[in-house]
């Protein structure tokens, strides 16, 4: 039971990082990234591929961060002329293409089998020590991510992003480079997700293309909608809530007479219903975005 709790909190914290990253894009800036899982995947596969070639895990994490920033910038440049729904579709398509590459370039990525046995900072320690190491790492990163996102949103950098989410023309008229701001935001948000991907990969010491399915993006969107779009704390609360349901339902099959192969789809169904219900009845989420009062001493 304790092992399970440690696992739950660790995974929820990692998803919290992913949710923080998506919230910076979708919640704060209004960029509906339907291919968010690609940033996670870049971090995860960078770590996996570096490990496969015997590189140190630190190198894997760094490669992931840099690659994600580059991908973020590229995705942002593509978006400079596109309406929001076009951009959403394009990001989805890019993530799908990356997944196709991950599935098919067997020599590089291990193909459909993925990459296993990835070493991390706690490899070689006892199970308990490693679990504790991971939960501390994940929570530490989550706290750092929270601080970064929260502060960035509060200062002028984030204020401009929040303005261009609602009134892009007004932002432009006040001298703010809207495209540039989006690109810079993506270059910050993407590495946050990539770190999440790296940590996840090292934690379960495996990465495969099935972890890059669009369903993962959908899961993170559910976290944002449940927690409340536009604020970091909401994203983290949402990550915890969704992860509770998602992991908790693994036990359904122990109590209900359903075939094991359906358990996964029922879990998904539950998440889908949760998202649908929040969209319909509480679109602002558990913690709605609040106005930010600015004071002179701030």
């Amino acid at each position: 039971m304790l092992d399970f709790l440690l696992y739950l909190v660790t995974v929820a914290a990692i998803y919290g990082l992913l949710a923080i990253s998506l919230n910076l894009q979708a919640g704060v800036t209004g960029l509906l990234n339907f291919g968010h899982v690609a940033f996670f995947g870049v971090g995860a596969y960078a770590t996996g591929i570096v490990a496969l070639h015997g590189g140190h895990w630190v190198l894997g994490v760094l490669v992931g961060i840099v690659a994600a920033a580059v991908l973020g910038a590229a995705v942002g440049r593509i978006g400079r002329t596109l309406a929001a729904d076009y951009w959403a579709i394009v990001t989805l398509a890019i993530a799908e293409c990356l997944r196709l590459i991950a599935t098919n370039e067997t020599e590089l990525t291990g193909g459909a089998q993925g990459i296993g046995g990835i070493a991390g900072p706690f490899t070689g320690l006892s199970t308990t020590a490693a679990s504790i190491g991971w939960i501390v790492t994940a929570l530490g990163l989550l706290a750092a991510g929270w601080w970064l996102a929260e502060r960035l949103t509060a200062i002028q950098f984030g204020r401009v992003l929040r303005l261009l989410r609602e009134q892009p023309l007004l932002a432009e008229s006040l001298g703010h480079n809207v495209t540039g701001a989006k690109v810079r935001l993506l270059m910050i948000a993407a590495p946050i997700a990539a770190v999440g991907g790296s940590v996840y990969t090292m934690y379960i010491s495996f990465i495969g293309p099935n972890q890059l399915l669009p369903i993962e993006t959908f899961l993170i969107f559910t976290m944002l909608i449940v927690g409340g779009m536009g604020n970091t704390s909401g994203a983290i609360l949402g990550a915890l809530a969704v992860q509770l349901v998602y992991t908790g339902t693994r036990f359904i099959k122990d109590y209900l007479p359903i075939p094991a192969e359906s358990a996964g789809s029922i879990r998904l169904l539950l998440i889908g219903v949760m998202l649908t219900a929040f969209l319909m009845f509480k679109p602002s989420g558990l913690i709605p975005e609040r106005l930010r009062r600015v004071d002179a001493r701030h």
């Binding site: 076009y86 989805l92 398509a93 098919n104 369903i215 359906s262 998904l268 649908t276």
Partner: protein
């Protein structure tokens, strides 16, 4: 070469039926319905279960399934997407993503992950030169060749069809000239879902019913829709044909001349072909090849 043309024609038929509906609804409801491609597997599986459980023949089962899919599309639009759209296109977009995933989950729960085959009498195909075309493929092309002209005839020459195009071009003006835009929206989503359902059944006859059918359709269908121009179903048909040709040509070309040896593009990259077309179009002409007005942000 002949084989590439035959395969492209079949593929174009399946993609077109799904893409015209998406193009039309996107133009009218003003958000991208990601769940639209999921109407295809729904109708396919409904047909399958109608033949298995109700013991219906393929034709009545298909008609029943198409009608049911149309009603589902209509219901989703009326009671879910429309409500979300009133609080912004972003919510509607996320809502369609949610529905899309829920549909996949439901199919997986009910039908399981194994592919299912629709009961088609196996018959020998015809040989044209060194190419083969099956009776099923002829049927697919024939049904599409009848359905699409009917659809466009309705759209261009009937009263409701003209109203639909009016709403797609300028909703305010259409509303002002006495057109009930809400009824038009409902009509369009109903027709679009039925067409997508038909496409799904044909696709199921051609290959098999698969959980990932919707996901595999998403990129090529969206590519066809955007390339053809949002709200321009005729453009979508032409674009779907181009994408089908590009897919089959890309898979059929031996890239060995470039890299040495025999090098074919793996079949798994098929969805990426449509996507590459899409990216090129978006970068060069975001309003689509045949679109009238730009949708630049």
């Amino acid at each position: 070469m002949t084989q590439v043309l035959i395969d492209s024609a079949v593929r174009a038929a399946e993609l077109s039926l799904i893409a015209v509906g998406l193009s039309l609804t996107w133009g009218i409801v003003r958000f991208a319905n990601v769940a639209h491609v999921q109407y295809a597997p729904i109708a396919g599986y409904l047909t399958y279960f109608a033949t298995i459980s109700l013991g219906l023949g393929l034709l009545p089962a298909a008609i029943l399934a198409i009608a049911a899919t149309g009603l589902l599309g209509l219901g989703l639009q009326r009671w879910f997407f429309q409500r979300l759209a009133s609080s912004g296109a972003a919510s509607a977009l996320i809502g369609t993503l949610a529905v899309s995933i829920v549909i996949t989950a439901v199919i997986q729960t009910v039908a399981g992950p194994r592919p299912r085959a629709l009961a088609v009498p196996l018959t020998a195909g015809f040989t044209i030169g060194d190419a083969v075309i099956t009776r099923t493929q002829i049927l697919i092309i024939a049904i599409t060749a009848v359905t699409l002209p009917l659809f466009f005839g309705f759209l261009w020459f009937s009263r409701p069809g003209r109203a639909i195009r009016g709403v797609a071009v300028n909703p305010q003006l259409a509303e002002a000239s006495g057109i009930n835009t809400r009824r038009i929206r409902n009509l369009v989503t109903f027709i679009a879902a039925m067409l997508a359902g038909l496409g799904g059944i044909l696709l199921g006859l051609d290959t098999s019913l698969d959980l990932n059918m919707g996901a595999m359709l998403l990129l090529p269908v969206i590519a066809a829709t955007i390339t053809g121009g949002i709200g321009n179903p005729a453009g979508a048909v032409i674009a779907a044909t181009l994408i089908a040709l590009a897919e089959n040509a890309a898979l059929g070309i031996n890239f060995g001349a470039l890299v040495g040896g025999d090098a074919y593009l793996p079949v798994n990259y098929r969805p990426a072909v449509g996507f590459l077309v899409l990216i090129l179009v978006l970068l060069l002409r975001p309003e689509g090849i045949f679109g009238r007005s730009g949708r630049r942000a």
